[in-house]
Amino acid sequence: MDLMKDWELVIGLEVHIQLATNSKIFSGAATAFGAEPNTQACAVDLGMPGVLPVLNKEAVRMAVQFGLAVDAEVNRKSVFARKNYFYPDLPKGYQISQFELPIVGRGHVDIVQKDGTIKRVGVTRAHLEEDAGKSLHEDFHGMSGIDLNRASTPLLEIVSEPDLRSAEEAVAYLKTIHGLVRYLEICDGNMAEGSMRCDANVSVRRRGEEKFGTRCEIKNVNSFRFVEKAINYEAERQIREILAGNSIRQETRLYDSTKNETRSMRSKEEANDYRYFPDPDLLPLVIDDEYIAGVKAGLPELPAAKRERFIGQYGLSNYDATVLTGSKELAAAYETLVGLVGKEPKICANWLSQELAGYLNKENLEITESKVSMEQLAALVGRILDGTISGRGGKEVLEALWAGEAEVDGIIEAKGLKQMSDTGALEAIIDQVLAGATAQVEQYRGGKTGLFGFFVGQVMKLSKGQANPGQVNDILKKKLEG
C-alpha cells in the first residue's frame, strides 16, 4: 500500500499457547479437544463453592522449558494473581494468572527474514494462566450456551516487546514461536483448534519519528494469514485516521476474518479494572537452580542450534536452513532424505523445501502428512544425481508420485523420462542443430557467446527434452569452439 511508505508499524504480539498437559492447570480434569460440552469441566473448573486450585507440575516444567529456550530469566519465585472480571465463560469471576511476578522474565527469539538476515525480537515475559471456557452463540431461544470444557486448560502467555516493524515480521515471529513450542513439544500448535492464539498490539508512526503512536490491541488473530491481514488493515486504518486529523483511541479491537476488518470491542473497555491481587489459594511458586538445570538437560536440540548445524554440516544457506528447521518434523525429514541419498545435501534441500513443499502447501498438509515418502524422494533425487533423468524429468516424477504412483523407476520408464546419455546419439543431434543454424554458429564464433543457450534449447527440443543437459553442454562447447 502506498500509504505505508511514509509510515512505520510498531507491533508487539501476545501469543497464548495451550500447554500440552494431560490434565488442567489447576484440576485433574482432562484437556482433550472436542469432548461433549461440559463433560471435562470438574467441580474445580466450574468454580463450585469450596473448591481449591492445585497447580499442575507439568505446566510449570513446560513454562520453564520455554523460558530456557528463549534465553530468558526463569524467575525463582513467581506469584499467581487473580484477574477479576465477570464474564460467562469465566466461572469463578476471576482468572488465575500471573501479574507482577511471572515465571519467565525477559528473553528473546531470533527470527530470520526473507533476505536471510536475522532479527532479534525481545520477549518481555511469559506467564502461566488458566484458559476460559467458550460462549456458543447459536441461538438457544435468544440465549447463549456456555461450554466450560476449556476452562482451566493451562496457557502460557508469551508477550513480545514492540520490536516488530511489519506484518511480515510479525508472521515470522509467530512462526518462530510456533516452531519452538512444537520442538519443545509443549503445545501442538494447532491454531484451528485454538491451541495457539494471538493478539496484536499495533501502532503507527511516521518514519523517523521516535515516539510510539497510540496502540490498539487486536484480539482474535488466530492464523498466520489473519495476523498479516489484520495488522495491515489496522495499520491502514490508523494511518487514515491520523491523516484525517483524528487521534487514535487506545482500545481493544476484534478482528473479523470474514470481513477482513477490525472493530472496537466496547464491551471490554468498560470492565477494565481487573483488581489484580495475589491469589490467596496459591502460595508463591518457588523453583531452584537444580530444578532448572534438570529441565535444561532435558531440552531437545532447538531450532537455532539446529539451523547453525545445518549450515555447517550440510553447507546450506541461512535461508534454506531456516526453512528446513522451521519444524521439527521437516528437519527430521530432511536428515532422513540426506541420509538415504548419501550426498548433495543442497540438492536434497531444494527438492524437499521447494519442490515437495510446493505440493504440501497447495494442499495445506504437514510434512508428516506428505503423500510422497522420503524413501521415494530419495530415489528420485538419486536418479537425478546419477544422470538418469533431468531436473525437469524429476518434477514430472514427483507429480506422478504425488498423484499416487509408487515406484520412481517405473514412472521414469512409463513416461520415457530417461535422459539421452549415449554420446553418439547426442552428437548426431547436435550436429544436426549446428548444420541447421550456420548463421548463429558464425555469430557465436565471432564472439556472441550469448547464443550458447539458443543451441542448448534447440538440442533439448530435438531430443524431446531427454538429452542430458550436462553432456549437451560439454559436447556443444567442444564442437563450437573446437
Binding site: 463450585m48 469450596g50 481449591l52 492445585v54 465477570f86 469463578k92 483488581r275 489459594d281
Partner: protein, 482 residues
Amino acid sequence: MIEKTIAELSAGLAAGEFSSRELTDAYLQRIATLDSKLNSFVTVTADAARAQADAADAARRAGNTSRLLGVPFAHKDIFCTAGVRTSCGSKMLDSFVAPYDATVVRKLKEAGLVTLGKTNMDEFAMGSSNETSYYGPVRNPWNLDTVPGGSSGGSAAAVAARLTPGATGTDTGGSIRQPAALVGITGLKPTYGRVSRYGMIAFASSLDQGGPMAQTAEDCALLLGAMAGFDERDSTSLDEPVPDYTAELNQPLKGLRIGLPKEYFGEGLDAGTAACVEAAIAEYKKLGAEVKEISLPNSGLSVPVYYIIAPAEASSNLSRYDGVRFGHRCENPKDLLDLYSRSRGEGFGAEVKRRILIGTYALSAGYYDAYYLKAQKIRRLIAEDFKRAFEEVDVILGPTSPSPAFRIGEKSDDPVSMYLNDIYTIAINLAGLPAMSLPCGFVNGLPVGLQLIGNYFAEGRLLNAAHQYQQVTDWHSRAPAL
C-alpha cells in the same frame, strides 16, 4: 447421657452402655424439642443420621474401635456435604445441594461420626452475632434475647444447649472462638493450613480455618486429630504429621510461660470479663505457670487491616455466585449485566454486600496500594509482634471477646461497633496462629471466654493448657437451662 462430653460418650459406646442409634435418637429428639427456641440448625438430616448410627453400631459389632465411632455431631453449614443442602447461611445457596463432601466432612465421616445436620451461621461467615443469616438469627441458650456470637453461632449454640456434643466451626477473624466464648463452650482455631479448606466455602482464603467446637479441650483434641492433616486438594494445607493431641493433655503446666499482652487488658475490656480472666490467670499460677506481661504493639491495627484483607479476598471469592452454574438466579434477566447484578443483589444479604463493596473498592485501580497493600504490610508487623512474643513465652493468654453476649439487634445497624467485637481474635488469623477459647466464668448469667494463643503448630500445647485448667474448674460443664 445428653450432658456427656464426646470422650464420655465414646467410653459409653465402647462399654456398650448405649448404642449409637440410641444416642442419635436422643439428640434428634432434643433438637426437635428445643431448637425452635434457638434456631441453631438450618437442616436436620434425621434419616441419614439414623442410618449412619446403625452403620456405626454394626461396625462396632464387627470390631471397629475408632474413638469417634457412632458419636453424633453437626457441621456448620459452610462445609459442603454431598447430597445435603449447603446454604452457607445465604439465600444465594438456599437450594444448593453440594455435589461433594468437604475434606473435613469426609475425614470425620471416616472416623465414624454421625451427622445430625447442618448448623446456622452468619451469611458466608460474615458476622459476629449470627444475625446476618438468611435463616434468621440464632439465640444464645443462656439468654434467648442475646446473640450467640458468630459466625459459627449455630454450632456454638447447639453445643452449649447440648443439642450435639460437638460441631465444626470456621474461624476467619474469630468465628469459632468468639461464639464459643459467648455461649460458654470450648473452641479451637488451628494453625492456618492445619485443617484442609477444601469444601469449606471460602470467605477470606488466607484467613479461613476450620476447627472443632465442643464442651471440653479433651473433646477438641479428639476432634482435631480426626480433622487435621495434609490434603492434596488444598495447596495451602501443610504436610506436617498429625500428632495424637490427647497424648499431651495431661502434661503438668509447671514452668509453662504465659504471656499477657498489655494491649488486651486495656480500654474497651468489660470489667466483669476482665475479672473472670484475672481469676483464670490466678488458676494458671496455681497450676505452676509463670506469667509475664508482653506487648503486641500493632495488635490495635488488626481490625482495620482485617477489614481490608478479608473483604478484598471475599469480593473475589464471591464472584462465582453469578446465577449461571448454581445458586440464586433472578427471574427473566434482560441481559448479562442484569443477570449478574440482580442475581447477586437478590441473593446476598446487606452485610455480604457491604463487604463485597469494600473489598472491591480496596482492590480497585488507584486504591490498591493505599488499602490492600498497606494492610498486607501491617499484617506482617502484626505477625512479627507474635513472633517476638513467642521467643519469650509458650502461650499467650487474654480475653476472647471484650464483653459477654449483647442483645439481638443491639449492634446490627452499626457494622463498625460489631467489628470491634473481634478485636482480640482477629490478629491471630492475620498471623495464622492457633488459638482457642474456653469458658472461664459468668457475668450477669452470661458466659465469659478465655483465649489461649499458641505458636504455629502448637495446638497440642494449647489443648494441654486448656485441659489442665478444665481439670481444676467446672465452667465448661455448666449447661444452660432450656
